[in-house]
């Protein structure tokens, strides 16, 4: 199959590669760019394990052709904090036991990160609604919701302190 030229920025780094038009973004990230944080749980847009940010929006990268990401800014879990450091959300997930097997976690945190930009002061109900595209089989969500709410108030407190 003929290949096409693809240019995109992933976690701040410019990438150029050749892909088939049918290749999915998740496969390109995982297999060609060795970015294995986003996972594959279904490949049908249901589970959210593959969630990344593309041009400031949460997308399920199993349902995005790599070709659609041409020229895009993509951020994955690996790009949310400097290597070896945990950001507020990541810490909150650990602190509140918001993960178990960890398979949903990269997608979950990447989505939560965007959710808190969309709505910095969500209620528990808004968190539950805003995270409903990301499935978790282990935690029952209760501690995920707790972690996201805790991260939100920590971020807001930090913002207030800075103002």
């Amino acid at each position: 199959m003929s290949k096409m030229h693809l240019k995109l920025t992933v976690n701040g780094q410019a990438e150029e590669l050749r892909v088939e038009p049918r290749e999915l973004l998740i496969h390109v990230l995982r297999e060609k760019l060795n970015i294995t944080g986003p996972h594959i749980g279904c490949e049908t847009s249901h589970c959210g394990a593959c969630t990344v940010e593309m041009n400031g929006k949460s997308v399920k990268s199993c349902t995005v052709f790599a070709a659609q990401a041409d020229g895009a800014e993509v951020t994955t879990i690996e790009g949310l904090s400097p290597l070896g450091e945990m950001n507020v959300l990541q810490n909150a997930f650990r602190e509140h036991h918001g993960l178990q097997c960890g398979f949903c976690t990269p997608g979950m945190i990447t989505r939560a990160h965007r959710l808190l930009q969309e709505n910095p002061t969500p209620t528990a109900e808004e968190v539950r609604f805003g995270m409903a595209g990301n499935l978790c089989r282990c935690t029952g969500y209760q501690n995920i919701v707790k972690a996201i709410l805790a991260a939100a108030s920590e971020m807001n407190a930090a913002k207030e302190a800075a103002e």
């Binding site: 294995t36 749980g41 178990q100 409903a132 935690t139 969500y141």
Partner: protein
């Protein structure tokens, strides 16, 4: 240097031992996307394998043509049964004493069955090649109902078993019959029931479902032809068992096989079995000389690996007129699918279904289980429960409710009357188990009080009255559930898998500077072993959990163990850890005695050190002892500080709990709302309360899914109707309820630290709580039994059948 600071309290806190909600070690990697799951593994020259699967549930294969596929650039090999036959690998033994086709041999027996294995340079070429493999099928009549499969003239499914009158578990009475497993005294049970004041009868169906972990199954096989070593990475809940099986099947000596379970994205029983994908990947790697990766997609996962449940349970329960249960009779028709690949200990073809007398003192009982072949996928795994225990708990908790209706008695009171009393433990059940410890009444009263049970009943009565007056269309259900789990398989004398006793193991090495590494025969799939096992050890050997590395899952380094499923890690491997820790301490005591120039009997253990009795200022800490063990000659004691323990549990452990679900149901739409869910667990000694609570949330959510909508459904010609996450219900954060957790603590008397295990209790107790809530809402209108899953349509149908739609 021997001053008394830090204080005992400070020293104890520093350990982060038993009972501490220690934050998880694993999370640092997982939250940063640095987990290492099987699909993350990449090896030089690695190929991808995938299956051509059968679209039919029952068909003869007339021909397979691989020419077009092989002609596609990038396709390296296409394996069929014909290629595996010379190696004797076209069939493989199952964990249940049956055999299973690795690749279809002459016919297919379920939709999604593996027909050919395509090996190609990448997954896209693989998908193209799969389309190019031409398979000609001749359809055969399909059996998807186990009861119909036992009709005298039902089509023969397993032609390979023609003429075999008995199987691994005794006589077969029909060509689609696998076994009849019986336990208890049927004649005595029948007699008691025949003469009883009151008898309730019901058929309870626990539908087919699937564990569906977020990560599917997969492996990477790599045969190194130069040194003759096979390395197999995979999603294995029992890596050592996989190594032994791989050796027996392939003829490669066991020391030349290394099996590694990397991080596992949830298991819930799905990853216990041995699947054709593993065998084909190994063969393909041997044939091509290159590493081969196989990872299921979600549809493969739901269609082909590891279903759970599918039990038709027919019960009769008898009682005196004041509600004392006198006998229980249970017969199960068990749908095992096309091959009996249930993952149970060998001597228990229906797992521990014989725990079906539940938490009640029932003097006489009988259980008979008929295993039956159908045109559905093989599996029969324990989906977040010990072997068939959730089926047993659901059965008895439904029978109690049905009996309560018959007696016109409150179901909470009926349970209270019949609980095994505290002073009866250890308690011998009518079906042969010795319950180790329990205090059911205390747990029950605590639970009822916590939810204001009497208040709820009053509210419910008012609601029914209001409903009848036409003032509301919503009903209120109070779902009660009290369960006894049986976990920690198990004693080698009666528990084995493929002949291997179900012990487990731990090996500890203390480093010269006083930190340590421990390796175990289990493997975490999210339970947080790296965190909790270190806590057990910290309390035993006085080294901070933060200074203990836990390693699992690599058969080259970990001691042999039977793996993680059936909540066995804490009861068995956790015990091994404690015992290995005690060996370390015993040696440390001799070293300390020498260093302090006293007799070892003059020392006592104090948190992290040995202290001279009566002279607390004289002591040696574990760190000092470790250093000495490597640095100085100690007469009569070998250098170093290491220990291994293989732990054969003397009994199972019996966690228990009380769950109560308060549910609102809209009669006109069938929509439900969980108003309150209360979960009290007693798992004995609590190692890490934070992790226990997390396990309860997760298990209860899986129970919620199963009870309220999750189903592996087939149509009458054997098509899987729920093969994607569009149709197979996994609750999102939106509909998942919020849980209130609580506990009592009744230690196991035979476990070294008294722990019982918890991971699966919430599923076992949760399913009856949700289901009983639905039943309870409609009890005032005459509902006795309605099968799960209680999705919106089924609830609407209940209301409609009861004439509540006017």
């Amino acid at each position: 240097m021997n001053d008394q600071t830090p204080t005992r309290v400070e020293r104890s806190a520093k350990l982060k031992g038993l009972g501490v909600s220690r934050k998880r070690v694993e999370d640092v990697r997982f939250t940063q996307g640095k987990g290492n799951y099987v699909d993350d593994i990449k090896m030089p020259g690695m190929l991808f394998g995938d299956f051509v699967r059968s679209p039919y549930a029952h068909a003869r294969i007339k021909s397979i043509n691989i020419d077009a596929a092989m002609a596609l650039p990038g396709v390296i090999a296409v394996l069929t049964a014909k290629d595996l036959e010379p190696l004797g690998l076209h069939w493989m033994p199952t964990l249940a004493g049956d055999k299973q086709m690795v690749l279809a041999d002459g016919k297919v027996l379920f939709q999604g069955q593996e027909v050919a294995f395509v090996v190609a340079e990448n997954r896209y070429i693989n998908a193209d090649a799969i389309d190019l493999v031409e398979v000609e099928y001749e359809e055969l009549p399909v059996l998807t109902d186990a009861k119909v499969a036992m009709a005298p003239d039902a089509p023969v499914l397993r032609e390979d078993l023609a003429g075999q009158e008995s199987g691994a578990h005794g006589k077969r009475k029909h060509h689609n019959h696998i076994f009849l497993w019986e336990i208890g005294d049927e004649a005595a049970t029948d007699e008691v029931i025949a003469n009883a004041d009151v008898v309730a009868e019901e058929t309870v169906y626990y539908h087919r479902t699937h564990p569906c972990p977020l990560e599917t199954c997969g492996c990477v096989a790599s045969m190194d032809k130069v040194n003759g070593k096979l390395t197999l990475f995979g999603t294995f809940q029992a890596p050592h068992v996989v190594r032994t099986v791989a050796s027996l099947l392939s003829g490669i000596e066991e020391h030349n096989i290394r099996v590694v379970s990397p991080d596992i994205g949830g298991g819930f029983g799905n990853k216990v079995g041995v699947y054709p994908g593993y065998v084909c990947s190994i063969v393909a790697s041997i044939v091509t000389g290159r590493p081969v990766k196989w990872v299921e997609d979600r549809m493969d996962n739901l269609m082909a690996t590891a279903f759970a449940r599918d039990y038709w349970m027919k019960g009769r329960i008898s009682a005196t007129k004041d509600g004392r249960i006198t006998g229980l009779h249970c017969h199960v028709t068990a749908d095992h699918g096309a091959f009996d690949a249930c993952a149970d200990p060998t001597k228990f073809p229906a797992g521990f279904m014989s725990i079906c007398t539940g938490s009640y003192d029932i003097p006489v009982a009988y259980l008979g289980v008929d295993g039956v072949y159908t045109n559905k996928a093989p599996g029969g795994v324990s989906y977040r429960c010990s072997f068939r225990v959730t089926e047993a708990a659901y059965f008895i908790e439904r029978m109690i409710e049905v009996l309560a209706i018959k007696l016109n008695m409150d179901a909470a009171e009926l349970r209270r009357i019949n609980f095994i009393r505290k002073e009866q433990f250890p308690y011998d059940s009518a079906l042969g188990w010795e319950y180790d410890s329990g205090d059911y009444h205390t747990a029950w009263e605590k639970a009822l009080k916590a939810v204001d049970y009497d208040g709820l009943r009053k509210e419910q009565a008012e609601r029914v009255a209001a409903f009848k007056r036409g003032e509301t269309r919503k009903l209120l259900g109070v779902g009660l559930s009290f369960f006894t789990e049986i976990v920690g398989a198990g004693p080698v004398k009666n528990c084995d898998i493929l002949g291997m006793g179900m012990f487990d193991s731990c090996e500890i090495r203390i480093h010269p500077t006083g930190s340590a590494i421990a390796r175990l025969g289990t493997i975490s799939q999210g339970q947080g072993h790296a965190t909790t096992f270190a806590q057990i050890l910290a309390s035993e050997i006085g080294i901070s959990a933060d200074s203990i590395t836990i390693e699992e899952g690599d058969t080259d380094t970990a001691p042999y163990g039977l793996g993680t499923y059936g909540s066995r890690s804490t009861p068995v491997a956790g015990a091994a850890a404690a015992m290995a820790g005690r060996k370390i301490r015993a040696k440390a005591q001799m070293i300390a005695a020498y260093l302090l120039e006293v007799h070892d009997g003059d020392l006592e253990w104090d948190i992290d050190r040995f202290v001279v009795k009566g002279a607390p200022e004289q002591f040696k800490t574990m760190t000092e002892i470790a250093y000495a063990s490597y640095h100085q000659e100690i007469p009569g004691v070998e250098p170093g500080l290491e220990a291994v323990s293989y732990y054969d549990p003397p009994n199972m452990t019996y966690p228990f709990g009380a769950y109560i679900c308060v549910m609102e149901i809209d009669v006109d739409t069938g929509v439900h709302e969980i108003r309150h869910f209360y979960a009290l667990d007693d798992c004995g000694t609590r190692i890490n309360p934070m992790i226990i609570e997390g396990q309860v949330h997760g298990g209860a959510t899986e129970a919620y899914a199963i009870a309220m909508g999750q189903e592996l459904a087939y149509d009458e010609i054997g098509n899987v109707k729920t093969g994607t996450l569009m149709d197979f219900f996994l609750p999102t954060s939106w509909e998942t309820p919020t849980y209130t957790t609580d506990f009592t603590e009744t230690p196991s008397p035979h476990h070294p630290i008294g722990a019982k295990g918890v991971g699966e209790s919430p599923n076992v107790g949760g399913v009856p709580a949700f289901s009983n809530a639905v039943h309870d809402a409609f009890r005032p209108f005459g509902l006795k039994q309605s099968h799960m899953p209680h999705d919106q349509w089924r609830i609407w149908t209940i209301a409609n059948d009861l004439g509540l739609h006017g």
